[in-house]
Symmetry: C2
Subunit: 246 residues, 2 copies
Amino acid sequence: EIATAAERLLRPPVPKPLAGKRVLITAGPTHEPIDPVRYIANRSSGKQGFAIAAAAQAAGAEVILVSGPVDLGDPPGVTVRHVESARQMLEQVQAALPADIAIFAAAVADWRVANEGEQKLKKTSAGMPPLQLVENPDILATISKLPEKRPPLVIGFAAETEHLIDNAKSKLARKGCDWIVANDVSPATGVMGGDRNTVHLISKNAAKNGEITVDSWPVMTKEQVAIELVAHVAKSVTGKSLESAS
Amino acid sequence: EIATAAERLLRPPVPKPLAGKRVLITAGPTHEPIDPVRYIANRSSGKQGFAIAAAAQAAGAEVILVSGPVDLGDPPGVTVRHVESARQMLEQVQAALPADIAIFAAAVADWRVANEGEQKLKKTSAGMPPLQLVENPDILATISKLPEKRPPLVIGFAAETEHLIDNAKSKLARKGCDWIVANDVSPATGVMGGDRNTVHLISKNAAKNGEITVDSWPVMTKEQVAIELVAHVAKSVTGKSLESAS
């Protein structure tokens, strides 16, 4: 006990390579209303985004977390904005700018229902009317392409069930972000809702004429993925390395 | 302390008016898959159905609870079957028959998506294809109209946002059940996901030529609604009253 305490006192202070940096993070699913009682959802638990928020806070950053509906407690020391729909998430993201780093880990619904019912929709004898869908605002592309206030480092996530790397590379180009964290969310992987993740970090290297590099990480817990990602972010924006957490 | 213990010993045993009866209960929402990561959900928390299961168990019944995805622990002494979709719920309900009483408190999705995607659906330049919906099996009507194995008392729930009593009466007639517990789930009421409920018990009186009676209860906790409902059930199927829980 005493030896441990002495060791702790002698240990150098925890490095805070993101001190003074403002990091904006999104997490969780969005819920898109069909009528007052029904909605379209997705299986994102928010665990990966919450872990990144905690890791960025531990690295000294000021963290704003915009979260969809999740069953997780707010991470200590993090400012959390709770939202339901993609439109609300975009509003809160815009309100949180400027930021030095934006990490969009939320699984935002691509679509919402065109005519949200004010009353509960009823079955009719004519059968079910198809649900007309309209495209939601694209938060990653919107922020990546901002003429002003674009965060210097914008990171998107690509959750795919097939052609993971190809889809993620094409997403990087299409959205205009700097990095993509790609992961396979096929049901067999247990990633959606689970505690582990296998990710590939796909980045555009401005110094090397926009060359795309793919860095495939081994399977890790979502906390480990968060610490690694924050270490890469710290190195990129400050040039300082985060000491590897043991 | 000693006085309380003595009082407890002297108190008559808790009445078990449903001893020897088998009660089948459904609870919670159903999730209807769109593709491996997206689904259609509803705001039911499962609290009312779980409270009824606990009250029926306390009244001495053998209870089988078929539950959609909820964030609630299994009630002690109750056999719980966990399902996701309406089709899975119907399967488990059918497998649980015969029963003396069936109480269908789940908020079952009326529809599911016609062509569930095996891979995550992608945005296309052509825009969003509408989601084609097909009708789900109607668990309440299916069980109410069983030629054999129909439970002697079948109770449905009607969650409405307008024309509550009229919609519930018409549901009673259409589905062929014996009672309907109707409640207003407009967002302003806070019933969906909340702890309180204001219900109307609508029953068809076989002895009185099928006369429909509407019994409107005051606002109560979901636990109180459960205890009252189980008391009515006990009186109906056994002729015995449940002593009112204070």
